[in-house]
């Protein structure tokens, strides 16, 4: 349970920092770089969520399929 909460905070922190980097880059007129940073941040967060979902489905399999 403890692990889950820290993962949520981690994702929230990544979101905040990526948002700030996006703002800074956009203010300095590098829109394309800002878009790339946002995209890469999104992919990283997506991988973390996929790992958590994988854990969830493993749990469900062990509960309902009696393995």
């Amino acid at each position: 349970m403890n692990m889950d909460v820290s993962a949520i905070f981690q994702i929230a922190g990544i979101g905040i920092i990526i948002g700030m980097i996006h703002t800074v880059l956009k203010q300095m007129g590098k829109e394309d770089m800002a878009q790339w940073v946002t995209l890469i941040g999104f992919v990283v967060v997506l991988f973390m969520v996929i790992r958590l979902l994988n854990d969830l489905f493993q749990e469900i399999k062990t509960i309902f399929l009696f393995q």
Partner: protein, 172 residues
């Protein structure tokens, strides 16, 4: 405990990298202005003093601060050296070998190299004209560098800290 120490170290390193990039951006217009002063000094030596070129380079080197003075002094050394290089060869070697210690870029280097291929082979008026041309180009570069500085200096400062924080969060 060790995790905290590593996080602090990464934060410190990221902040320093950002500040160093910002300092590099700030150093470029300053060095461009010093380079323009040096070329004006060289112009005076050629136009009014009729000084021989290696000696004129030495006096120019005395008039500017360090990273640029080394370029001129090196060029003068190479002209006087035992290999018997022409002025153009020694100028090019000096500019390419000492360039890494300055904050200047490729465009300024090509301006200086073009100037070096015309110094010392023609009469006074021609050399003065070429120095004037180089001065004009350096002036344009300095304006562009100043604009870059005002735009990107703050960005590097905040970007260094932000990327360090991001790395820390990703690694926790």
């Amino acid at each position: 405990m060790i995790k905290l120490l590593g996080a602090v170290l990464i934060l410190f390193a990221g902040t320093m990298i950002g500040f160093q990039q910002a300092a590099r951006l700030a150093a470029r217009p300053r060095q461009l202005r010093q380079l323009a002063h040096a070329l004006q000094r060289l112009e005076t030596e050629i136009g009014y003093g009729h000084t021989p070129l290696p000696e004129a380079l030495d006096r120019t080197a005395d008039a500017v601060p360090e990273p640029l003075a080394e370029l001129f002094r090196d060029a003068a050394e190479r002209v006087r050296g035992p290999e018997g290089l022409t002025f153009r060869e020694s100028w090019e070697q000096a500019m390419t070998s000492g360039w890494g210690s300055t904050a200047l870029r490729q465009t300024e280097q090509s301006v200086l190299l073009r100037l070096g291929s015309t110094l010392g082979i023609s009469d006074k008026e021609d050399q003065l004209k070429h120095i004037h041309l180089a001065l004009l180009q350096l002036k344009a570069e300095e304006d562009a560098a100043r604009e870059d500085q005002s735009r990107y200096e703050k960005m590097w400062k905040s970007l260094g800290v932000l990327i360090a924080v991001l790395v820390v969060i990703l690694m926790v």
